[in-house]
């Protein structure tokens, strides 16, 4: 297997064929902020938080979908990038209705953590206060669109790990939102297996276990990584009838 050598933040880093800049940085212990990225599912480069500067490129590139290449010179934390990242977090906070004080994920929320990391002590943009719905038609889980950041991690986890694709996106621009099955209430979505992988994947308090109250939603991300890894390594079907 061929190995590339690239430079990230003035450090020489090696990456195997097929690895992204984000993979290479992670392995070298360089942390790049992410939101729509989730270990074990496909990457979409949607949130733009992992944008990096690559020498010779006029555009900023999302590290999660940019293949690591020989001789690449990457900067991950310039002032320029940090300013953009802070702006992205502020846009996300202004776009939805994120009221940490009364959220099930208060204290365990990736958006909240990102705001801290980016030094967001206030939002300079005008809050939009969109009129969004809450779906608690499912017996075990709830969906609060007010807290959704449209990362699509639930869509991908359901499709790729559970193999179901109950979730998808509908609408455009500020009207974008996730829908279950053919835009039915979640409780009536007959494809849903109630496995809860979408809930484990959600970075905010948008998807939650019913009955949880402020700060009670703590998600087990390792569970999803474990399942993804087991599938990849074909460990799930190990036994007398396992494919050889």
């Amino acid at each position: 297997m061929s190995v590339h050598t690239l430079t990230i933040d003035q450090r020489l880093v090696s990456a195997r064929q097929g690895e992204t800049v984000l993979d290479a940085a992670k392995e070298a212990g360089i942390s790049i902020p992410t939101l729509c990225y989730l270990d074990g599912i496909s990457t979409v480069g949607a949130c733009r938080l992992c944008l990096v500067e690559v020498e010779g490129q006029s555009k900023l590139l999302p590290a999660c979908v940019t293949a690591a290449a020989e001789g690449m010179v990457v900067q991950t934390h310039t002032e320029h990038l940090q300013r953009y990242r802070r702006m992205i977090v502020e846009l996300l906070l202004a776009e939805g209705n994120h009221i940490c004080a009364v959220c099930v994920s208060n204290g365990h929320c990736e958006l909240q953590d990102l705001a801290v990391d980016m030094g967001v002590d206030h939002v300079g943009l005008a809050y939009q206060f969109p009129d969004r719905q809450v779906d608690i038609s499912h017996q075990r889980f709830g969906l609060d669109h007010n807290r959704c950041v449209l990362c699509t991690r639930c869509v991908r986890a359901c499709d790729e790990l559970e193999g179901v694709h109950t979730w998808d996106m509908a609408g455009r621009g500020r009207n974008s939102h996730v829908v279950s099955d053919l835009n039915q209430p979640w409780g009536e979505a007959s494809s849903c297996t109630s496995c809860g992988k979408c809930v484990s994947a959600c970075p905010t308090g948008a998807l939650f276990d019913r009955g949880s109250t402020v700060g009670e939603m703590q998600r087990d991300r390792d569970r999803l990584s474990f399942i993804a890894n087991a599938r990849q390594e074909r460990q799930v079907a190990r036994g007398p009838h396992a494919p050889s």
Binding site: A101, C103, A115, V116, G119, H122, Y127, F129
Partner: protein
Amino acid sequence: MTRIKLATVWLGGCSGCHMSFLDLDEWLFELAQQVELVYSPFADVKTYPEGVDVALVEGAVANQDHLEMIRQVRDRSQFLISFGDCAVTGNVTAIRNVLGAAEPVLTRAYLEAADVRPQLPEADILPPLLEAVMPVHQVVPVDCYLPGCPPNAERIRAVLEPLLRGDRPALSGADFIRFG
């Protein structure tokens, strides 16, 4: 040494930030020796004085009284601190904004949700609601943000201590700027 003139203001919030201020416990004695509390819900002062050095403003701007008050506070204060999530983000106070205006809010609260004798509150002494609740910095310039619901005593102290020394506070990290 002249003592710093400190004011605390209560706009559209639950007073939780002021309760948290009281959690400063014995440090309040030290603070009391270094500041003069010139206006506060904790003190019986009717009008906001001129020449305030530091103002802690709790709550969002939700009604006409808040609007007039915050403008006066800004005019008469050197250093204005947005104190707590309602002041900084609108927070719970601003949840009503999704209804779009003041009238549907009153209708929802006093007519639709009423158990007995549904009626809109009508009295001249009641301040009219603004069409939308605003964080403080949307109305007047703010010098420092102190997020949290409420910000705990440690955070409040981290803002006040540098000011007592004549320094500008700079908060960062989850312990000091996390919302919620």
